[in-house]
């Protein structure tokens, strides 16, 4: 399917490019814009962006695949990203991950059948003092326990966002 950059995107993009002396420096923020709108960065979007910034497609694809925060496929409505680095590990992250795997019946990198949850194990989120930590889309949930996790999943299932009441 051909991908066309929207006029709204182009207006934003011009504003973002103006922050840098060279417009290709805006590659990361522009990819973030595209992902913000679609939830992921499709091959066609990379191609369109490459043309817009007058860059080789390989440069864009190389950047997308280098950074872990760019999704190349759609994720669930809620992307559960559980930190598994040292401080979270000591605070029980493996148990939380196992709990989520069992409860959602998916493994890391998979999405539930209803399209609601994607599960990922991620590296240090920089909130080690309140380990274990999980990021759901953009929001941090800290000092987690299995019980808190269950309550959070219930809230999310019912469209309630605990941080945005």
């Amino acid at each position: 399917m051909p991908f066309k950059l929207s006029e709204e995107f182009k207006t934003k993009a011009a504003h973002i490019c103006a922050k840098y002396p060279r417009k290709d420096a805006a590659l990361l923020p522009l990819l973030q814009e595209l992902q913000g709108a679609a939830g992921y960065v499709a091959e066609e979007a990379m191609d369109a962006l490459a043309q817009y910034l007058e860059l080789p497609y390989a440069r864009v694809k190389g950047v997308v695949t280098f950074y872990t925060m760019f999704n190349r496929a759609p994720t669930g409505k809620y992307h559960l990203q559980v930190c598994r680095n040292i401080s979270c590990h000591m605070a029980g992250a493996p148990g939380l991950l196992a709990h989520l795997r069992a409860k959602l019946d998916i493994t890391e990198g998979e999405t539930t059948g209803d399209g609601l949850f994607t599960l990922s194990a991620v590296e240090c989120l920089g909130a080690c003092g309140s380990a274990p930590v999980m990021q759901v889309n953009e929001d941090y949930f800290e000092n987690l326990t299995a019980e808190k996790l269950d309550a959070l999943l219930e809230d999310l299932k019912h469209g309630k966002h605990p941080l945005k009441r």
């Binding site: 973030q32 872990t68 040292i86 240090c124 080690c128 003092g129």
Partner: protein
């Protein structure tokens, strides 16, 4: 001891004004740039991101006669496992960073500054954007700041998930829209940095200390702390202590005081086994070593480790050192940018060897191989990521060899016990 960085009620501009905010900028703009650099040199302020390089000296490396633009970059790509101080500082005192950057920009002759913040910190990036807009509205950022003729634009640039971008030249690559792969030095960023121009890169905590130094003088700052380790430092404590969190203390504070007085000691029933004192890359200390060391650049170097980012990771007796090292190896292997063979291959081999030991397939020879692979990585790559893997490996194996040998002898820890592994 009063806090210089972590203050309450200064998050908004009004509160920051009430605490004397943006007066230091006014004071700085009345001085010559060289005088500011002199004052920062006098303060003894050193880089708080991990390397501890003297800040004033770094600023003075910008060539005086260089034509064209110069840039100031703030490294807010906080990613060293165990580190969460810059996040706290941004959330509590964002204007100290913004004011520090305006002063630093003036001192080095930069008209543009970028704050490179890790992509996951969405709320923190938004807060900075708002704070910058507030500062701009009052004339502290933008054109002709406070009528001085000095122009300084400040932008927030979000990363996208790559530990390596905390390394300053990888950060520059990323800021220019490339993969974050470190550059060969020389040329150093002070000569050829962002967009090929002279650039200073400082950590959030370093820049946020600048306004206080301007206001109260380098000599005032220099007597806080311990000798060559001047000033206060944010220590972030994680692990099984009663009150984990970020604490601002003078450099040179005994690690024992941080754990017992600030953090309220270890949780009931937990016994100290080891401490990683400066972020996951720094060599581990045994409990005895940790309880005898002071937290400053020199003392930790003398104890065979490093102050690093001030991330104190507390490890208790219930933890398996082989498992923890496996967790770190998985991380470094994942984060190696792949440019240099010793790092790309070495991190992979280390992870494989640790997987073997953890799975009960390892031998004593594997322990020696582990050590020698790490030894072969040290100092042989473009950036210090290989060292950051090698240092924990060598120190864990040296100081906790019996645990590795127990694994080699088939006495492994139970796998995937909830809350443990």
């Amino acid at each position: 001891m009063e806090s210089i960085l972590l203050k309450d009620k200064v998050r908004g501009l009004e509160g920051y004004f009430a605490a004397g905010g943006y007066k230091p900028l006014k004071k700085a703009l009345a001085l010559k740039p060289a005088e500011i650099i002199e004052e920062v040199k006098k303060s003894g302020l050193r880089g708080r991101g991990g390397a501890g390089f003297p800040t004033g000296l770094k600023w003075s490396f910008i060539p005086k006669d260089a034509e064209g633009p110069r840039y100031l970059v703030c490294n807010a790509d906080e990613g060293e496992p165990g580190t969460f101080k810059d996040r706290e500082l941004i959330l509590k005192n964002p204007h100290a960073l913004i004011e520090g950057m305006a002063i630093a920009g003036y001192a080095i002759g930069a008209a543009h500054g970028y704050i490179y913040i890790r992509g996951e910190f969405t709320a923190e990036a938004a807060l900075l954007e708002t704070a910058i807009a507030d500062a701009r509205a009052k004339g502290f950022i933008g054109r002709n700041i406070l009528g001085s003729g000095f122009n300084f634009e400040l932008f927030v640039h979000r990363g996208a998930g790559a530990y390596i971008c905390g390394e300053e030249t990888a950060l520059l690559e990323s800021l220019e829209g490339f993969k974050g792969q470190p550059r060969l030095k020389p040329p150093f960023p002070a000569v050829k940095g962002l967009f090929g121009s002279p650039t200073v890169i400082n950590n959030v905590e370093t820049l946020a200390a600048v306004p206080a130094i301007m206001e109260r003088g380098g000599a005032w700052y220099a007597v806080i702390g311990a000798g060559k380790s001047a000033g206060t430092k944010l220590f972030c404590v994680s692990g099984p202590v009663n009150k984990p969190g970020v604490y601002e203390l003078p450099l040179g504070v005994p690690l024992r005081d941080l754990l017992e007085k600030s953090c309220g000691g270890l949780k009931a029933g937990k016994k100290l086994k080891a401490v990683i004192p400066g972020g996951s890359s720094t060599p581990v200390l045994t409990a005895a070593e940790a309880l005898a060391v002071n937290l400053d650049y020199e003392s930790l170097t003398a104890a065979g480790s490093m102050l690093g980012s001030g991330a104190v990771i507390v490890i208790d007796e219930s933890q398996c050192m082989v498992k923890l090292l496996q967790v770190l190896a998985r991380f470094y292997h994942h984060e190696s940018c792949g440019q240099c063979t010793p790092c790309r291959e070495g991190c992979g081999w280390i992870e494989k060897l640790l997987n073997r030991l953890e799975d009960g397939r390892g031998t004593v020879k594997d322990i020696d191989t582990l050590y020698s692979v790490a030894d072969g990585m040290m100092g042989r790559t473009i950036c210090p990521l290989a060292d950051a893997m090698a240092m924990p490996v060598m120190s864990f194996v040296k100081k906790f060899r019996s645990e590795f040998e127990a694994h080699a002898a088939g006495r492994c820890c139970p796998s995937e016990a909830p809350g443990k592994h």
